[in-house]
Symmetry: C2
Subunit: 236 residues, 2 copies
Amino acid sequence: MTQLAAHPAYDRRDVERVVRDVLVRHFASAGSLRLKPNPLVVNISARHVHLSPEHLETLFGKGSQLEVQKDLYQDGFFAAKQTVAVVGPRRKILPEVRVLGPCRGASQVELAFTDGISLGIDLPVRCSGDHHDTPGCVLVGPKGVVELTAGVIRAERHVHMGPADLEYYGVADGQRMHLRIESQGCTTIFEDLLIRAGKNIKLEVHLDTDEGNAANLERATGVELVKPEPCGCRHK
Amino acid sequence: MTQLAAHPAYDRRDVERVVRDVLVRHFASAGSLRLKPNPLVVNISARHVHLSPEHLETLFGKGSQLEVQKDLYQDGFFAAKQTVAVVGPRRKILPEVRVLGPCRGASQVELAFTDGISLGIDLPVRCSGDHHDTPGCVLVGPKGVVELTAGVIRAERHVHMGPADLEYYGVADGQRMHLRIESQGCTTIFEDLLIRAGKNIKLEVHLDTDEGNAANLERATGVELVKPEPCGCRHK
């Protein structure tokens, strides 16, 4: 570290880029290595709410805009300063659920099963945006109340990918991969993560808090995406 | 169903037993089939407390005995009527944590990571009874308070087995197996469940609430114990 600090022109990222470039050129010509184009990032999505512009105004007042509290890993997305209360059918309440931005066409509440149990809501597992046959809830903000008739879900496990990631793993948008998290005493394989690909999307797995805690993600010693392939063994 | 009801002498269990007996006799002579000796039961252990007799008296009064609220799956074990409050280092509290009986030599608090996060306790993963380098907490009962200096853990995933189960799966006490839970959108493999065998023990996997919720155990369509065997595939 001392040596690096004495040569500030060469920081770690510069060195890594140079090494990567050399390796890619070397092995590409030999045709024998495919370097992972992006690091695999696994993040936990804690319970959160997406709001339509109309619901934002009802809950926070006419002309309200979401304010950025913290940028998320995917460019353009953020945790907002705003929170709402989520009220379940038996008047059980989660008092401060973070709103994520930007606004969407339809409001959506994403909870873990642990949250659903505490609220008394039987959560369906759905891909984000798929609200068929989903329960609703009541959202309470400082300026108003919204009664959602649908859109309360446990988000399906998924992995965001860009074009280079699809190529590297040999998969396509809408297909599925397994994620193995290695963690002392808690190693877990989550099967069938939905691949959601887009042009300017970074490689990122989203798990919920139950999944992250089941695998002790915070202390994980390794994460790996595995393409489901019939291999004759009993690990399907 | 109507037909079964009209022949009350032959209920489902009778029929299953007869079929099993016939199959066992038939295939045992052919030497070609090993029937699973016991059904695989997977249960969630919600957060709970084990108490030493001394701590029980401190918390609930001199001469107190645990009272059975509900028998557990393993013979002789039960959820007690008694609950205690578990207080963490930042005075965060879980107000009603069930005591399991019978009493043990040393008190122990078993929590999921979700519980640990809400209490502000960094939980180590430990086999039940292993309290080396574990945090403590404060227990509050109706008649007194106990300050535990150790014994707060996330219990390591494990499977209880009897002798017939060890033989069937070809494993030994202290070894490890994987558990696959098949569940729509939530299929999960929990690796390295510790095998804890005993003479009069029923085959039973214990997961915590995070693990059960991550895999949506309540809606599971199948559970399977898999012996970890090197098979050359990437599913280690």
